[in-house]
């Protein structure tokens, strides 16, 4: 690229040939392209921006219609809300931790085996990803409920006398959500592990590092962008998750999204529900922004791949 600044004053005498027409053409072209995007933009504006903006507005009015911060103050005053937030973050941290714990070894294995074997194993990751959340939650209900598979087997084997409480409680929510969100951890992790040049590892070993040291000093740091992407994705999805806790929690585990559904559908309290939504969105976007700030350009490469 040349680095000359444009104001050279050379156009004055010849009156910039055709420049008006060319500017007009350029404007017409960008309008045409904007028109191509406009159906999508209009729909997103209608379904996402407008209603969410509306809810945002509503959240600042109490039930009598007066401007107030009551809907937000409620979060700190009512114990049930506080409990909801605590539960939500407990679930989010636990599920994120579990997906790291079991997703990392799986991704590591996928990155080390042959391309063909990895492709076959990836089917196991992708297929659940594209199976309805409802179907997978149902499967876990069948497996974990009081008279479900696990309890029947364990009792048949005489390991236990009483059925274990695995479903309709916190445990069930954690097991189900970990299963459903695991692909969101594995996909970016595998992507970033796959892009690690094996030559680095070879070099590390040639320089005398043990396999364990090579892993921790070379491989692990290089896989961090993918790990970070997976963590942020799973955590953010956990915060707003609805289907699995609603079905697996049996009414005992009230998470953020469920509280929103209850306040709006059951109690028709739009102000309170909206306030919950506003904070949820703010936390979600805040975490994503923080992630992009921390990871910088590397983040986009992980999401892109």
């Amino acid at each position: 690229m040349t680095a000359q600044v444009a104001d050279m004053g050379v156009l004055a005498d010849r009156g910039a040939l055709n420049s008006a027409r060319l500017t007009q053409d350029a404007r017409r072209e960008s309008l045409t392209f904007l028109a191509l995007c406009s159906p999508g933009l209009i729909l997103v504006g209608l379904i996402i921006v407008l209603p969410i903006g509306w809810l945002f507005w509503l959240s600042f009015f109490d039930e009598s219609g007066a401007l107030s911060g009551a809907n937000y103050a409620r979060f700190f005053e009512q114990r049930s809300y506080v409990r909801t937030f605590i539960t939500t973050f407990q679930v989010a941290f636990l599920v994120t931790g579990l997906t790291v714990l079991i997703g990392y070894p799986l991704s590591y294995m996928l990155s080390q085996i042959s391309r063909r074997a990895a492709a076959i194993c990836m089917i196991f990751v992708i297929l659940p990803f594209w199976t309805s959340v409802l179907v997978r939650t149902y499967a876990w209900l069948v497996i974990l409920q009081r008279k479900g598979l696990v309890n029947t087997w364990l009792m048949d084997l005489g390991v236990i006398d009483q059925p274990l409480p695995l479903a309709h409680n916190f445990t069930g929510v954690i097991i189900g959500m970990t299963h459903i969100l695991l692909p969101f951890m594995v996909l970016p992790l595998y992507g970033s592990m796959k892009s690690i040049d094996t030559d680095y590892l070879r070099a590390g070993m040639n320089l005398g590092a043990s396999p364990t040291a090579t892993f921790w000093q070379i491989f692990f740091p290089l896989s961090l962008p993918g790990l970070a992407a997976g963590i942020i994705m799973v955590f953010v999805l956990c915060l707003g998750f609805f289907v699995t806790p609603a079905l697996m929690g049996g009414g005992n585990v009230i998470m953020w999204a469920m509280r929103m559904e209850q306040t709006t559908s059951l109690y028709a309290n739009w102000g309170a529900g909206s306030a919950l939504g506003v904070v949820l969105l703010a936390v979600t976007l805040g975490l994503l922004a923080l992630f992009h700030r921390l990871m910088g350009a590397r983040a986009t490469s992980v999401w892109g791949g």
């Binding site: 000359q4 156009l11 060319l22």
Partner: protein, 360 residues
């Protein structure tokens, strides 16, 4: 398909292109004669490809005029410009076979099936690919793809032909072969052609005239021989061929180096600090006493001698510290004059082989 009699001139005026505050082309004028093969030569970022894209209509200039045979085309959409274009990577359509690729421009012009077959056949013949019409694109070699792209660009008898580094993807020997072939094809068809390359050797081999571009401006527009023999700026001298640059001062209508008056047949620029250009193969070793009173003899110290088989390169350092390269064939009479590194040497530069150029 003989366009020689109907070839059109291209006339560009005031072409200006900016990307934000960065000026890529600044008020550029260029005329291409009917039937001429003109090459835009320059390093990457010099604006040569941008200029080509403006002619083709894929980049919109901020201002300017491009006239082909007197008709303004800069405000036309690309598909109405009637310009044949060959891209660097050929851009053959992989979902069509060779015939369909070449017939594509005819199909857009709603040419009948029979006429299409005739024209495509003739175009294939012209690029020596007769009988390959049914081949898939991925069954072709690099050189064959190049020819298909060429046939596709000329089959509809465009007003002008543009080529954007069309040979850069080929290996060296094939590239040199295709240069000759493109040149002779151009001679036969006689279409006005604008060719973009960063390879000065390719430009010199093929072009009627070369426009050397740098920083969005045309530094010099001339025939290849003239560009080589009489560069006007330091950039042109360094970009085309190898050059020695001797810093000189022009005053009183003469050229001075280190207090010594040098002879030159070159036009002299205005007074001030300039450069005297001498090509390595024009620099001679001043042997024995016979040549001592000749002009332009400079004292130097040999730094290194590099043998290159048929020729050798001798690097010597002038009194002012500038390095001078001298190239000659390995003949015993010449070799005998070359002292070893560290020895004194006298270099002579014939006045008719020197050019004085400005810094820019």
């Amino acid at each position: 398909m003989s366009a020689a009699q109907s070839a059109l001139p291209i006339s560009m005026r005031g072409i200006t292109k900016r990307y934000g505050p960065v000026s890529v082309l600044a008020d550029l004028d260029l005329d291409v004669a009917p039937g001429e093969f003109l090459t835009l030569l320059g390093p990457s970022g010099s604006g040569k490809t941008t200029l080509l894209m403006i002619i083709a209509g894929f980049v919109r200039a901020n201002a300017g005029s491009v006239k082909v045979g007197g008709e303004e085309i800069i405000t036309m959409p690309p598909h109405k410009r009637n310009i044949g274009m060959v891209f660097q990577n050929y851009a053959l359509f992989p979902h069509m076979n060779v015939f369909q690729n070449i017939a594509f421009p005819l199909k857009q012009r709603r040419v009948g099936a029979k006429e299409t077959a005739t024209k495509v056949g003739r175009a294939l013949e012209l690029v020596q690919l007769s009988g390959l019409g049914d081949r898939r694109v991925d069954q072709l070699s690099g050189g064959q793809r190049q020819r298909v792209a060429l046939a596709r660009a000329i089959v509809f008898e465009p007003r002008i032909v543009l080529m954007d580094e069309p040979l850069s993807a080929l290996d060296k020997s094939l590239r040199e072969h295709m240069q000759i072939e493109l040149r002779s094809l151009h001679r036969r068809l006689g279409m006005t052609t604008v060719y973009v390359t960063h390879d000065q050797r390719e430009a010199i081999t093929m072009s009627d005239r070369i426009a050397v571009m740098n920083n969005g401006r045309i530094e010099q527009l001339d025939r290849p021989e003239a560009l080589y023999a009489r560069p006007k700026t330091k950039f042109v001298a360094s970009f085309i061929g190898e050059s020695n640059f001797i810093p000189v001062e022009c005053k009183d209508g003469a050229v001075w180096y280190d207090g010594q008056r040098l002879q030159t047949t070159s036009e002299l620029p205005s007074a001030g600090q300039h450069w005297l250009v001498a090509r390595p193969e024009k620099v001679r070793v001043a042997g024995g006493a016979s040549n001592l009173n000749g002009a332009n003899v400079l004292q130097a110290v040999v730094r290194d001698v590099v043998y290159q088989g048929d020729s050798f390169l001798c690097y010597a350092v002038l009194a002012g510290g500038e390095q001078i390269a001298l190239r000659d064939y390995c003949r015993s009479d010449v070799l005998s004059l070359i002292p070893s590194a560290g020895a004194q040497i006298r270099l002579q530069i014939p006045a008719e082989d020197t050019t004085v150029v400005t810094e820019r």
